[in-house]
């Protein structure tokens, strides 16, 4: 059987039956995304390696309990990766603030070399959509949002980091999220129609 042709939900069920080939395909499909989230937050290849491995080991061990109806696999993988990477960042005594944290402005260049065209197109499409949306935010909203998203900072920490009043930061975060929601919603409607 060519596992590359199978969708995520089917592969997860196979992973639950300890089919390591199914995990291998999911890894090929999403390791780049998981690793990229970890690297953006922690900027340390050895830590990103460990977090990426752990995410897929957890998938291996928890696949039987995964409920596709409760959400997408990418959401689960990136959710635990983000939480874990922010947790590592918080534990660190030295905080490399020089590392630029933000989203990609450019469109995704290449896709992984798997052969499930449908799944790859869907992910690439979602990625392009979010990038276009983030690129439309004013710079000051995007940098406040980046500190919230990639650093796990609360409002006050963001205000301290940016040297801006607390109220200003609250407004920027709110406007950024509201605008992203609108853009993503309207894009989805265009696709649906």
């Amino acid at each position: 059987m060519d596992y590359n042709k199978l969708d995520d939900d089917t592969l997860i069920r196979l992973v639950a039956r300890s089919q390591s080939e199914a995990l291998s395909v999911l890894y090929d499909r999403y390791s780049r995304l998981v690793y990229s989230v970890a690297m953006t937050i922690i900027d340390d290849p050895s830590v990103a390696d460990e977090i990426t491995q752990d995410a897929f080991v957890r998938l291996w061990e928890n696949a039987a309990a995964f409920r596709p109806e409760l959400g997408k696999l990418t959401t689960w993988l990136t959710g635990i990766t983000r939480n874990r990477a922010i947790d590592v960042f918080r534990r660190r005594k030295i905080r490399p603030e020089g590392h630029a944290i933000s989203w990609e402005d450019a469109l995704p260049e290449e896709m992984s070399d798997g052969s499930n065209v449908e799944q790859e197109v869907e992910l690439a499409h979602r990625q392009a959509k979010v990038r276009r949306a983030v690129a439309q935010l004013p710079d000051e909203q995007r940098s406040a949002l980046a500190l919230a998203y990639f650093r796990g900072y609360a409002h006050q920490q963001i205000a301290d980091t940016l040297g801006e009043p607390l109220g200003t930061v609250k407004t920027r975060i709110r406007l950024a999220m509201q605008k992203l929601r609108e853009i993503l919603k309207s894009e989805n409607e265009i696709i649906a129609g």
Partner: protein, 234 residues
Amino acid sequence: MTTDNHELDLLPAYALGSLDEADAQRVAGHLAACPHCRAELLAFQQVSDELALAVPQVAPPPVLKKKLMDRVRPRPAQFSWVQRVLGWQRPRARQVWASASLALIAILAVSNLLLWFRFNELKNQTLPQVVALQGTHLTPGATGVFVIGADGYSGTLVVNGLSPLDETHQYQLWLIQDGRRTSGGVFSVSEKGYGTIPVVSGQPFDVYQAVGITIEPAGGSPGPTGDKVMGGDL
């Protein structure tokens, strides 16, 4: 709690996890009583979830895949204490734990988990949430806990004192959001009435307000059809 004063302005930051402590607590309190704000929160959580897709892409080193595949190759189980307690083990190892030691796990899970996590993770403010479940008039002696992992996406149900069912029936866990019930999985209990099931979700468990357990035909139902035997508020 009235729903006249919504917390709409703070929901975007709540979804990101960037509210200061006092604000976060107030919003959480409001969300518990307000379906409108919960629906709004879900929309912002979806935005937050999608943000991960826009990070700059970096390919992991090729050797990483080999390391991973070596780790998942079948070998004697080596799990941490907490993984075992939470049921985060592979299916083949689960057989072992489904036997007599399950009773021990359930007791340990209920009595020690909070303490264990406080000891290990308090500094990082990533305590798991432990929710108590009560039996209904059908199952007055039943007790249980639903433990939500520190990541918010993984949980484990442990029950105690439920009657074993015949082989055509199983217990089914339901996650309840604004009256809608989503299956959290099906399980059976041992002769002594212990049962446990891991639940992994693609969305954080805090979108749900309650959990319930019903008796369903073996394999589970799309929605609850049988008697409710346990429940608890998240």
